[in-house]
């Protein structure tokens, strides 16, 4: 069994951390407990060059960081990490009279295939200016090009529900996979649920029963790696992973954000600070009650529109999933400090050193073991595992505010003392 985070971005993408280099990514994958991590941005010529220099192909469609590049890792979480060639394309084009903007994730089996793909795509647009290139190509046409060049590559609609750049997005997406991909729809085996939706929400669409619901971090900085991931029980190879995605055999499920924490769960208008539930949005005629502009319709609303099943429906074949809150956020709440603070960073690494990788702590570690390290943390993790948390849902680009203990945290001071 292993965790895989198939979609991240390198330092060559817009608005990403300078730290997103192969060495640090490999390091953080271990801290988080991720076995297989996407390279991200293979369409970027300079990033691909780095991939070629620093990684070696293992012959199983995956790659590993050369020994000499490896950074220091706490022994508690030291593991082999494998890279999978991945990239994301932003397709912006017109279809049926409407502007469409959708992001597609590509997984590819070899540097050879990737080189060919890049050659073809460089005829359509510039690959050099952004690790996630913008191409004015129809999503379906892009898929055709990639499948022609590399039939083993997989194309997966990224964060499928995000309003602005996704296949089901309320702003510039489609109402169905078929509307977007037409005769190639059977080759869409999976969608990314994105941070703002979880499998439970997706189960409400019978059309998605055959689709594998995968989850990735889409990380732009190292500490965000693995905030969502997939659980595989299959051969550690490109074929093993993609077959599991295609057939669901060996695909054990996903590790998920609580969808309310995602930036687009609810509707609203960020500039005015207005958060609306889907029902309120409809009542207010999709207009912001403060300024009268159109609100951004979020993921929950969009699911509601496209769903053909009641809330709470669970298809018989449904694959389970686990909801988590990032460990740093949990610890920040306990210690009443910010996620970015140096204090928290120290505490976080102390926990990793003592207990193991983040996933190990969040998902596997016995509560009694965590208790020995820190009582509040054990209590918090118990609550997260049981889903006993409170959230103010995110909307229009604003992350949701998630609390393990509610506000204010009763354990605040106690926790802080204990951790120091």
């Amino acid at each position: 069994m292993f965790f895989a985070d198939l979609h991240i971005h390198s330092k060559f993408s817009r608005a990403t951390s300078k730290e997103m280099n192969l060495e640090t990514i490999e390091q953080w994958a271990q801290i988080k407990g991720i076995k297989v991590i996407g390279t991200g941005d293979f369409t970027h010529p300079e990033w691909l060059k780095e991939i070629g220099e620093k990684l070696t192909e293992e012959g199983n469609g995956l790659l590993r960081l050369k020994e000499k590049y490896k950074l220091q890792i706490p022994e508690s979480c030291r593991e082999d990490v494998f890279f999978i060639l991945s990239s994301e394309i932003s397709c912006i084009y017109q279809k049926n009279g409407k502007l469409r903007k959708i992001h597609l994730l590509i997984l590819s089996p070899s540097l050879k295939d990737v080189t060919k793909i890049n050659h073809a795509l460089s005829q359509i647009g510039s690959l050099i200016s952004d690790g996630r290139p913008i191409l004015g190509i129809d999503g379906k046409e892009l898929m055709k090009i990639i499948m022609d060049i590399s039939s083993d590559s997989l194309i997966i609609p990224a964060h499928a529900w995000t309003p602005h750049f996704s296949v089901f997005g309320s702003q510039s997406g489609f109402d169905s996979i078929e509307e977007c991909f037409e005769e190639l729809s059977p080759y869409i085996y999976a969608i990314e649920t994105g941070l703002s939706s979880d499998p439970r929400m997706n189960w409400r669409l019978s059309k998605l029963d055959s689709i594998t619901l995968i989850s990735n971090s889409d990380a732009h900085s190292p500490s965000k790696i693995g905030r969502e991931a997939n659980i595989f029980d299959t051969e550690l190879s490109f074929e093993g992973i993609t077959e599991a995605i295609k057939t669901k055999k060996g695909f054990l499920g996903t590790v998920e954000f609580f969808p309310e924490e995602g930036k687009y769960h609810y509707d609203g208008h960020r500039v005015c600070g207005v958060r609306l539930s889907p029902k309120e949005t409809i009542k207010r005629n999709y207009l912001c009650p403060l300024c009268g502009k159109r609100v951004t319709v979020g993921v929950m609303h969009r699911v509601e529109v496209l769903a053909d099943r009641q809330e709470g429906f669970k298809p018989p074949q449904a694959i389970p999933y686990k909801s988590i809150i990032p460990l740093q956020e949990i610890m920040a709440e306990i210690n009443n400090t910010s996620v970015q603070s140096k204090t928290l960073s120290n505490l976080y690494f102390k926990a990793i050193n003592n207990l193991g990788s983040e996933y190990d702590i969040l998902l596997n570690k016995k509560l009694t073991d965590i208790e020995k390290f820190n009582e509040s943390l054990a209590e918090a993790i118990e609550r997260v595992r049981e889903g006993k948390i409170t959230v103010e849902p995110g909307y229009d680009g604003e992350y949701g505010k998630i609390k393990v203990f509610g506000k204010p945290s009763p354990k605040n001071n106690k926790g802080q003392k204990l951790l120091f």
Partner: protein
């Protein structure tokens, strides 16, 4: 086919000499195509019809439309003047020379530099002008010219000028008889004297000729075309029937009416009626910017405003709902260099752009080289005398696989006009045609990217939103150039304006670097020739001591 009243008159006219005045966006190509089909349906022998165009793109488009309607019947000649001349020379030249090869630009360069000419491009230009217009040549160039001609003769080569000149002289000598009952000429305003003589010579006594065009869009005088030939038609042919396609399907009323009023400042023109089908939308926007960098930034901002965010960082600054896509926008410049900074900035932003590539010639050469390479393969040689349709053959060789989408599309469309006769004959004709392709023909029109074009390059295209840059006196009109014709400059700007369907945004910069020198030019004098009622000023800041100011505020 759907035709409006005037279009129908043009299609069904049986006048011996017909001149159709067709302004921008009035359905000229559509009407010509309908006329060809009409003639064929009337039972005219396809071999007695010739439709002439100035670009291969136009002829390919017409052929495709005719082929669709024809159902496998024989296609009349639809092609450029050059192609027509090649066909005629291959038929009517004496047997020992009719298998001439084309002296391409590349060959020209090779020959002239082997003679020892420096500044090869200039010499080629001078020789070409000498051959076409009998301009004088200095002794040195004359010497090079004579050796050049001799070499071509030895190698049985004809350059592009020779094609027209030879055809013309053979017609005069009676070696090529009048062949056509119907000659149709597209873009007649671009014709030159030799081409004009050729069509007159090829028309049978009983035949008809119809010319379509718009003298206001004549922008190729530097290539030797003469708008006077168009303007003199009424005096050349007393029985000339003049029709005017007046309904414009392209531009919203403000753009159309403004451009139409603007062009009346010219004197060498026909007055033509033009009526907008689309109601008025926004006014033409005039913007002032500091320099070429602000110009580029402003355009980028305006495009993003209309396109919505292109990445997450842009969200919230831009509206989201739009019918535009990258393809909806064009940025036009009078001078090629005017697009450089804009291109760089767009590339940096990761926004797809397309330009007219200069390497058309090299591309054609390499494609033909690859094709001839395939033909010499043993298993292919046998096929050459079989009646295989050309496209089917090309497809089977795999040669199309390595082409870009739009290249493959172009090749397919050219090739699909050839399907009769033995393969080798089809290939010969096909290669003759390929040599006539220009950079303009290779512009990937369907590629979803923002077009960056010169005003010349934009001719024949249309875009929902058009930006015209460098609207400064000196650039538009290009009076900084040593040779300019103010009326042609005006026509060129008119062509630019009339590319726009919904929105036209015209920008001038207070400062700009031209040829390495920073200059401050006043706004174009053309501005006052556009009626105020169609204009809205944006971003224009009042400044002291400038005469402009009074007018603007």
């Amino acid at each position: 086919m759907n035709l409006n009243k005037q279009q129908r008159l043009a299609v069904e006219s049986s006048d011996k000499y017909l001149c159709v005045l067709a302004g921008p966006g009035t359905g000229k190509t559509h009407t010509i195509t309908a006329k060809i089909i009409y003639l064929l349906e009337e039972g005219i022998n396809p071999r007695k019809i010739a439709a002439l165009t100035f670009t291969q793109k136009a002829s390919i488009e017409m052929r495709q439309r005719v082929i669709k309607k024809l159902n496998k019947k024989e296609l009349p000649f639809i092609g450029t003047f050059h192609l027509l001349c090649i066909r005629l020379l291959r038929e009517f030249l004496p047997e020992n020379t009719r298998n001439f090869n084309l002296c391409t630009r590349k060959l020209q360069r090779e020959i002239i530099s082997s003679i020892g000419g420096k500044n090869v491009e200039k010499i080629i230009e001078r020789i070409s002008r000498f051959k076409n217009k009998q301009t004088s040549l200095d002794d040195k160039t004359l010497q090079i010219y004579e050796i050049y001609e001799k070499k071509k003769k030895e190698l049985n080569l004809l350059d592009f000028d020779d094609l027209l000149l030879k055809t013309s002289s053979m017609i005069k000598e009676g070696k090529i008889p009048p062949l056509f009952e119907h000659i149709i000429v597209d873009e007649f305003q671009d014709i030159n004297k030799i081409q004009y003589d050729i069509i007159k010579g090829l028309l049978k006594k009983t035949g008809c000729f119809s010319v379509f065009g718009d003298p206001d869009q004549a922008i190729y005088s530097f290539r030797g075309s003469e708008v006077d030939l168009f303007l003199n038609l009424p005096s050349d042919f007393e029985d000339l029937k003049l029709l005017n396609l007046s309904i414009n399907y392209r531009s919203q009323a403000n753009i159309l009416l403004a451009s139409n009023r603007f062009i009346t400042a010219n004197t060498k023109r026909f007055s033509k009626r033009i009526e907008p089908l689309k109601p008025s939308e926004s006014q033409i926007i005039i913007m002032e910017v500091e320099d070429e960098y602000e110009e580029a930034k402003t355009i980028l901002k305006e495009i993003k405003k209309r396109l919505g965010a292109t990445n997450f960082n842009d969200l919230y600054n831009n509206k989201e709902e739009t019918f535009y896509t990258f393809n909806s926008f064009a940025v036009l410049s009078r001078i090629n260099k005017g697009l450089k900074i804009i291109k760089e900035m767009f590339m940096k932003e990761g926004i797809p752009v397309k330009t007219i590539k200069k390497e058309a010639e090299a591309w054609i050469e390499s494609f033909i080289k690859e094709l001839t390479g395939i033909l010499s393969k043993e298993e292919i040689v046998k096929k050459l005398i079989e009646p295989i349709p050309l496209y089917e053959f090309l497809d089977s060789t795999g040669i199309l696989k390595d082409l870009e989408n739009y290249e493959a599309y172009l090749i397919k469309n050219i090739a699909s006009a050839y399907e009769k006769g033995i393969l080798i004959e089809q290939i010969r004709a096909f290669i003759d045609e390929l040599y006539g392709l220009t950079s303009l023909d290779l512009f990937p029109e369907n590629l979803n990217a923002i077009s960056l074009l010169t005003l010349h390059g934009a001719k024949g295209l249309e875009f929902p939103v058009v930006f015209i840059t460098g609207f400064e006196e000196g650039v538009i009109p290009y009076t900084l150039s040593s040779e300019y014709d103010i009326e042609e400059e005006r026509r060129l700007f008119y062509v630019g304006m009339t590319r726009a369907m919904n929105e036209l945004i015209i920008i001038y910069a207070k400062n700009r670097v031209i040829n390495g020198k920073k200059v401050s030019l006043p706004v174009s004098s053309f501005l006052k020739e556009i009626p105020e009622e169609y204009i809205k000023y944006e971003k224009v800041r009042p400044r002291k001591g400038e005469p402009m100011q009074k007018k603007l505020f």
